[in-house]
């Protein structure tokens, strides 16, 4: 077991009382958290996970946030973290969506069953009113046995009441029929909460106590569900609802006929905003004017005071790839605007409720590649930063899906930084080359996905995703998310960039760069039909993929050469950071295969495009379409063979 005892975070955050905020996803917990804790909030990584947990203070007490979950057990990282934090609580402020009580009260009742004092907050009461949902707050409080406070967090209604009523939190009424089970267990472990999770068969909690996991999960869950339904039946009146605009829009988003054009429109909007406005206009100012025009000369001036700029040390510190020049120009001038632009859109997607609908729309497409619709989330995140997206593959249900998603991410998804440079080069080539590039990369995505789905053992899990109501995102929330994520990106990327800059400078000064260039020449010149200097871009691409693309931008290549080079460089596993994460997430052997494989795939398919152009005649207007048709044929064949292999396998398992 990865961690055999309670997490460190529960011990490091101290206070007189530990107040824990809990709730389902999208219930508006963060507004209450910010209100209760004020300005001084610490964000720390939860040990052993990538989840960030915020905590702050209210008087002498400490307030801890938890990830949004539907229940506490061990289905995924979020639940494990929420479970540990809730079990360590002195009192839980449970925020529920008043429009969705049947779902949300399951968690409430589960927390009540742990015996921890609870204060229940009914958020979004205004929406409930609009939907004709009438909640008898007093009766709800009586049935659950805990105080209930109605609120509309976004309009600041109920916030101060929550703060004032914290001392009133109390243990509620345990689900009927569960108490006697708990009584039998309680002598064997520290508290009622752990006893409950033991009974519910939680593997990790039972592991910590060296006990067999209990077998009552289904029984307790069913009783709890029944209890919640009875409570809702008594305390909530629902008027028959008429179809709202947001429901109609939601339907349009998930039906392929309307959903695909809408997706295309959204992607086009993003391309215009990030690829054109940010990558060209904004970066033009931040990179060219500010960093190269003002920052770099200043740094060179400063370093020139201590050492000659053309000395090896001067080159390493402030040369073309200088640690103090290139690192900051790249991170702050080029990457930050692109990454922030992307995270802005991502926050819009998250807060509006579009992502789960996108997952539903593309589910069919992704099941062919051994992923379910949920897999679209890391793939989309990959366009922001492949490194982070690789970590988020943890939200996928099985190891099989994680491997497929990580391979596809590393192989075919260019990150925001690289995409900016690629879009810039492609824009100068003309429509047919753009089409060849997009089609070739997409073909590799489909071929790799279907082949992995056929070859990897087992089956992937099915889609099960909650579609929260569509909401207009709140700008302050979106901006805060964008700022936090961009800041974290810079914090993590800067040291790696400095390392990359150092390596390339040293390679260049020692002649290793030239040596590698010659070593690669047979492939670059002989197979990819590129000039020998293109190898430098590939070598640079190992350090940072966008670095490589930037190297290509400064070479004079024909349209075909540029297309081939861009395809090759896109298919590489991205930057050092992504490679490090790949090794951390997948272990040495698997990571080495994935990394090596991406090199082979990159050169094979890049070379194939070059050879096809050669075969069909370089200057012919029918050439590009013929190349594309070849790729479509190839993809169809690979997909068909894969699906035959897959169905054979499935049959042989049945027999």
């Amino acid at each position: 077991m990865a961690h055999c005892h309670g997490p460190d975070l529960t011990e490091t955050i101290k206070g007189d009382k530990r107040i824990v905020l809990a709730g389902n996803p999208n219930t508006g917990k963060s507004v209450f958290f910010n209100y209760l804790t004020g300005l001084y909030v610490d964000v720390s990584n939860y040990p052993g996970t990538t989840l960030e947990i915020s905590h702050g203070r209210i008087g002498n007490d400490v307030v801890v946030d938890t990830p949004g979950v539907y229940g506490i057990s061990s289905f995924n990282d979020e639940e494990r973290v929420a479970r540990d934090i809730i079990l360590s609580a002195d009192l839980v402020v449970n925020i529920v969506d008043a429009t969705n009580l049947e779902r949300d009260l399951f968690l409430t009742q589960q927390v009540i069953d742990t015996g921890i004092p609870v204060l229940l907050v009914l958020n979004m009461m205004d929406e409930a009113d609009r939907h004709g949902i009438n909640i008898n707050v007093a009766l709800l409080s009586e049935l659950l046995g805990v105080p209930v406070i109605p609120a509309v967090a976004v309009k600041k209604i109920g916030l101060s009441e929550v703060k004032d009523n914290l001392p009133l939190a109390r243990p509620g009424n345990v689900t009927p029929g569960v108490q006697h089970l708990l009584d039998a267990m309680i002598g064997r472990v520290a508290n009622k909460g752990e006893a409950l999770l033991l009974l519910e068969g939680d593997q990790i909690i039972s592991g910590r106590h060296g006990l067999e996991p209990g077998e009552y999960r289904e029984e307790i869950y069913s009783r709890r569900r029944e209890r919640v339904n009875i409570i809702v039946g008594h305390a909530v009146e629902m008027a028959s609802e008429r179809k709202s605009f947001s429901q109609t829009l939601s339907g349009l988003m998930i039906r392929p006929i309307t959903g695909i054009p809408m997706l295309a429109l959204i992607l086009y909007g993003m391309y215009k905003a990030i690829g054109v406005f940010v990558a060209q206009t904004v970066v033009g100012v931040t990179e060219e004017t500010i960093m190269i025009g003002m920052f770099e000369p200043a740094v060179r001036g400063l370093i020139g005071e201590f050492t000659a700029l053309d000395s090896p040390l001067g080159q390493i510190l402030a040369g073309e790839f200088g640690v103090f020049t290139m690192t900051f120009t790249y991170v702050l001038g080029l990457l930050m605007p692109l990454v922030a632009g992307f995270y802005f859109f991502l926050a819009l997607f998250e807060d509006s409720g579009y992502l789960p609908r996108l997952a539903t729309l593309v589910d069919r497409l992704l099941t062919g590649m051994g992923l379910n619709g949920r897999g679209v989330i890391p793939l989309i995140l990959g366009f922001g930063c492949v490194t982070m997206a690789t970590i988020t593959t943890r939200l996928l249900a099985s190891e099989r899906e994680r491997i497929i998603a990580i391979v596809l991410l590393g192989l075919t998804i260019p990150c925001s930084a690289q995409l900016g440079v690629i879009a810039g080069i492609l824009a100068g080539l003309g429509g047919q080359y753009v089409a060849v590039y997009v089609l070739a990369v997409f073909s590799v995505l489909v071929m790799a996905g279907t082949a992995l789905n056929a070859l990897l053992p087992g089956n992937s899990s099915d889609l099960l995703i909650d579609l929260p109501p569509l909401r207009v995102p709140r700008l302050d929330n979106v901006i805060r998310k964008t700022a936090t994520k961009s800041y974290n990106f810079i914090k993590e990327a800067t040291p790696l960039f400095a390392l990359g800059a150092l390596l390339v400078s040293v390679f260049q000064l020692t002649g290793i760069l030239k040596f590698l260039q010659n070593l690669l020449a047979p492939i670059t010149v002989g197979f990819l039909n590129l000039p020998p200097e293109a190898a430098t871009a590939f070598i640079m691409g190992i350090v940072r993929r966008d670095f490589g693309a930037a190297g290509l931008a400064n070479m004079s290549l024909s349209s075909i050469e540029a297309t081939v080079a861009l395809i090759t460089i896109t298919l590489f596993v991205p930057c050092i950071a992504a490679i490090l994460v790949l090794f951390k997430e997948r272990g040495k052997k698997e990571a080495a295969i994935i990394w090596g494989g991406s090199w082979v795939v990159a050169f094979v398919f890049g070379g194939m495009v070059a050879q096809l152009f050669d075969l069909f005649g370089q200057e012919n207007s029918a050439t590009a379409p013929l190349v594309m048709i070849s790729f479509i044929l190839m993809t169809t064949i690979v997909a068909a063979v894969s699906s035959v292999v897959k169905s054979r396998k499935r049959k042989s398992i049945v027999v």
């Binding site: 539907y70 229940g71 289905f75 429009t99 969705n100 049947e102 779902r103 399951f106 939907h131 949902i133 999960r217 289904e218 869950y221 069913s222 709890r224 569900r225 919640v228 339904n229 629902m238 609802e241 939601s250 339907g251 998930i254 039906r255 392929p256 789960p356 997952a359 539903t360 729309l361 589910d363 069919r364 099941t367 379910n372 619709g373 099915d462 889609l463 099960l464 995703i465 909650d466 579609l467 109501p469």
Partner: protein, 72 residues
């Protein structure tokens, strides 16, 4: 019949769910055995979208095939 054969707009009652983990998750989401749900959307060859009260959930087609229902 199974949930993947339900048509858009039909209201059905869940009789049984043959997959254990799925059954647990369904209980948490509120569409356990015995629940009456509405079929909101059927994506061709893709997921089924169901609604129970205010809540909408998208289910993969194979998973829907493991849920036995009766027209309500």
């Amino acid at each position: 019949m199974t949930l993947d054969r339900v048509k858009k707009g039909q209201s059905v009652k869940i009789l049984s769910i043959s997959d254990g983990l799925m059954r647990i998750q369904a209980i948490r989401f509120g569409f356990a055995e015995g629940a009456v749900i509405n079929c909101e959307e059927v994506i061709p060859a893709g997921p089924i979208v169901i609604r129970r009260c205010g809540q909408q959930v998208a289910l993969g087609r194979q998973m829907a095939g493991k849920i036995n229902v009766a027209i309500n």
